[in-house]
Symmetry: C2
Subunit: 204 residues, 2 copies
Amino acid sequence: MNSLKLLDKAVEQFASLPGIGRKTALKFVLNLLKREDEEVKAFTESIIDLKKNIRECTVCHNITDGEICDICSNPKRDRTLVCVVENIKDILSIEATSQYNGLYHVLGGVISPMDGIGPTDLHIASLIKRVEDDNNIREIIFALSATIEGDTTGYYIYKRLANKEKLVISTIAKGISIGNNLEYTDELTLGRSIVNRVKFNLNG
Amino acid sequence: MNSLKLLDKAVEQFASLPGIGRKTALKFVLNLLKREDEEVKAFTESIIDLKKNIRECTVCHNITDGEICDICSNPKRDRTLVCVVENIKDILSIEATSQYNGLYHVLGGVISPMDGIGPTDLHIASLIKRVEDDNNIREIIFALSATIEGDTTGYYIYKRLANKEKLVISTIAKGISIGNNLEYTDELTLGRSIVNRVKFNLNG
């Protein structure tokens, strides 16, 4: 049954997305099947365009269509501040608060031994090197999830950077609910927690 | 910000899928961004292939890569039985029970005035015509959801076909839980309800 094979292939692809099972995937595929050809073309081309044109900023690991991302190359941003985040979703969330005008550094995750993710799997080495090479940087702000993994990651980076003179290491205020991931925090709370950031200390 | 525009376009497309909001769509897009080029190509091509090669069977509205679907053109199927279903997901569910060897007719939905879906929006006219033209057909089996909309649809078609002599109109046994959609029924219950189908009567 060739048509069922084609259907199954598409279902399998959608079922590979995070949190999507075969029944939901089938719902998506049947929804796409019902649409006009041009609509489906727009759908697939948006993915192809994205994949073809987007790569990682060589400085901060944000997404970019060039070498350096729009935030790193923006002369109006405060180059003394670097906000350390888990992923680019967090950059989008923080940018939406309009409360922060510094730069970012995307780790690509947090240290999580349970998931087999260690410091070398993250962009921590490039952060350390960036702080060493760039004399403009005066403050590192941790904007990590208020989870054990987020705290561990902050602590690990803090230990690696604590010997740098004149470098302030801060963390966003614990206005964000304990146990929650950053992406589920509302803009007001997240904005306030950036403004009210406190010096990083081992007691959280 | 061109890279964000590209990201946003892809997010918008995924957010157009049923039940998917912008946050989940963003999660999907970032997941795809992290994958290898070939993996993303396989993803988009499965959709393009499907859309390019699949159309509706001109007889029963099942999916097919030709003119007539594999079930309608299979000489081993019992051509005296036509099982009326809402969508092709239901065909897949019933085929998985291995309890049915007849043909199908896909309505494309059920009558639902609340959603603005009337009889003319469904493949009911083509079912009536099919019964009139094809003298092999001896029985019409309703395998519709046990909801008000499903019952209404069965009743509507019953009224249109009741005057046909020698045509048996049956409905799958109400072993399927009342209020549930067909796709969430387990294979055993669904198979049994096909075997134990009863004559359609107005008291359900």
